[in-house]
């Protein structure tokens, strides 16, 4: 009897979940269920549609609840990052000493659109924060958009700036050639374009007003020279690359390899990718240490990977054998330079967009600005760390 009941339960449940009840009514008839029972099954089948609807609304409710809960937790630690944030600031709030908007524009605030390519990396977030601070300082209105790493979104964001008729557009893109059509659109609309913290167009026909960034090829050369000097022109070097196909990695790599080639006695014993991240770099460095009995220096294309590599070196107990040189100068790396022997030097990659916003203000006020503004990229080691380390830095 019990088994019979269970079977019926199975049948009913089965019908609830299938798109076509006929097959199973047929099956049920074959199994010897009475017509009454089969009608019951059919009714249940119709009921199931309503249940499904209820289920879906329940799921939506749960998701919404989870979302609200998470925001609640995150709110203390973070600010809201919507895809588009507007920073409003008044000229009165700006310090009197800094350049306030020129008099003819006093009644109408200058609007600057800033298209950021991606906001999932500390460097990119620091870009945005510094731009907001600069906007407040110079009294301009800044609109920030996030391309979420997708060139099509970046282009759509830039188009929306053109549609809004902003005064100046700042673009920070990692999309290489794919973003050029958007640059052309900006020029066609007669809006000044400032390219910041990204690659300079390699095609001379691409129009832009000003390009402001550090030169990553020079950063690579500086690192190579520093390592060569410190090694006395001779030794084994392990090289940890970022994502090999990215623009930054390619430029840093180019500068470094050209320069290090001048020292034939420096041997690159390993060149592997740490994917810009700490954990992959830790893993790769562990393997490199395994493969090489003697390493004198490690060069990493960014600080995150350098910190991961140092973890691996410490675990292997070989921190007295080598030193680490890297790039970016993020706060955590500067602290490591201050406090450890193994992290020797990092090269500052300027994250602040202060200069870019200043240029935007100037060009909007009709001043002529430089076509190419090169930002300083100083090497930071134990000698100048105290001067360069700012505990309140946002990057």
């Amino acid at each position: 009897m019990q088994i019979r009941q269970q079977q019926k339960g199975v049948m009913v449940q089965y019908c609830k979940t299938t798109a076509n009840s006929d097959d199973y009514i047929f099956l049920a008839q074959k199994k010897g269920y009475s017509t009454q029972k089969i009608t019951k099954i059919e009714e249940d089948f119709e009921m199931s549609a309503k249940r499904l609807l209820r289920m879906v609304s329940l799921i939506i409710a749960v998701t919404l609840f989870a979302g609200v809960m998470l925001t609640g937790c995150g709110a203390t630690q973070t600010q809201d990052t919507k895809a588009q944030t507007t920073v409003e600031s008044t000229a009165a709030a700006a310090p009197a000493s800094t350049a306030a908007p020129a008099t003819e524009n006093n009644d109408k605030k200058i609007v600057v659109g800033f298209s950021q390519c991606v906001m999932n990396h500390p460097f990119r977030i620091a870009n945005v924060e510094s731009a907001k601070q600069a906007a407040e300082k110079y009294g301009v209105e800044l609109i920030v958009t996030d391309g979420q790493g997708d060139v099509n979104k970046e282009i759509a964001n830039i188009e929306s700036f053109i549609a809004r008729k902003v005064d100046v557009i700042i673009v920070s893109s990692l999309s290489g050639k794919a973003i050029y059509p958007a640059y052309k659109q900006v020029a066609a609309a007669g809006i000044p374009l400032i390219i910041a913290a990204s690659g300079v167009p390699d095609d001379p026909s691409i129009p832009y007003t000003s390009y402001v960034a550090t030169d990553e090829v020079i950063m690579g050369q500086t690192a190579a020279k520093y390592i060569a000097e410190k090694l006395g022109g001779k030794g084994n070097l392990a090289y940890i690359r970022g994502v090999a196909e990215s623009t930054n990695s390619e430029l840093r790599h180019r500068g470094f390899t050209e320069e290090i080639a001048k020292y034939p006695d420096i041997k690159i014993v390993a060149k592997q990718s740490g994917e810009w991240l700490r954990l992959p770099a830790m893993q790769v460095m562990t393997n490199i240490l395994q493969a090489n009995d003697k390493i004198d220096a490690v060069f990493s294309e960014n600080d995150e990977m350098a910190l991961g590599a140092i973890e691996a070196i410490k675990k292997a107990g070989r921190e007295n054998e080598m030193f680490v040189v890297s790039m970016d100068a993020q706060k955590e790396a500067l602290e490591a330079i201050k406090n450890t022997k193994i992290f020797d030097m990092t090269i500052k990659n300027e994250w602040s967009l202060d200069t870019a916003v200043k240029l935007a203000l100037d060009v909007a006020n009709g001043k002529t600005i430089e076509k190419r503004v090169l930002l300083d990229s100083p090497a930071i080691n134990k000698d100048n760390i105290d001067k360069m380390y700012d505990p309140n830095s946002i990057f």
Binding site: L52, I59, T63, G74, T81, N120, P122, S273, N287, I288
Partner: protein
Amino acid sequence: MKKINRYIPVMSMVVLVILGSLLSDKFLTFRNIVNMVQFSAETGLLAVAMTLVILTGGIDLSVGSIVALAAVVSANNQHLGVVPVFLLVIVIGAVLGSINGLVITKAKVEPFMATLAMMAIARALTLWYTNGGPIIRGVSDGFQSIANASIFNIPLPAIYVVAAFIIGYIALNRTPFGRHVMAVGGGEETSRLFGINVERVKMSVYIISGILAALAGALITARLGMGEPRSGYDYELTAISMVIVGGTSLTGGRGTMEGSFIGLIIFAVVMNLMNLLNISPYVQPIVRGVIIVLAALVISRRGKLSLIRTTME
């Protein structure tokens, strides 16, 4: 012929190990073997759950994103203490896993689509929660020792992953749950007629998947001493690759837990060898792709053979 096919994953592993020891004298050392296993810990945990999910005929693409969410949440709630953080992480994994399960079993959305949606949602929640940047400070030493301590010179992550596979093996081969998982993957209709609660089995595998992914995220935070929102990218693909290379069929119902462990070892050995031999980073993904295609070829041949057998019968 059937027997030979069955042992192809093991044989390729043996061949790889022999090849490895010939190519590099650093390969077959205790240190290196331990390193190989310990750096596969996170993806290994995912592979255990992924084996169960794929055996039911499903797939879970959301695990990489759940790893990231758990990583940042565990880093940001260190003040609660080690055990509560773990409970919190397990709850997150279970909730996200059961949402996956509900959408799949109740709303009848294809597992691929349902978990693809969760993959995007969990990643977005992660970035939203952290404002994009890593959570650098505050991970306690006690929490870090979960990943960084060792017993008898063996790092704990290596022990976790082996333990997870042993538990997974027992669950799959020695319990009714395991039999049900295999049955559901073999044929849902038949399983239902035999009185198996298919929905419940499916729900459980997605919940297990969510929980193990969340634990893997906590493990990353313990290992790095920080919450990295960019953790876990492509982990789902690595885990799926391990499972497939281990001989489990994507259509469900056919495969083994020990096979997935072999898959994990094969991927770990290949990654390790490519580093030891200093192979260009540009070339490495090609090698991984070739392995997957080879494994898929073996599986499809096996499928064809069994099909021929059944028609002959």
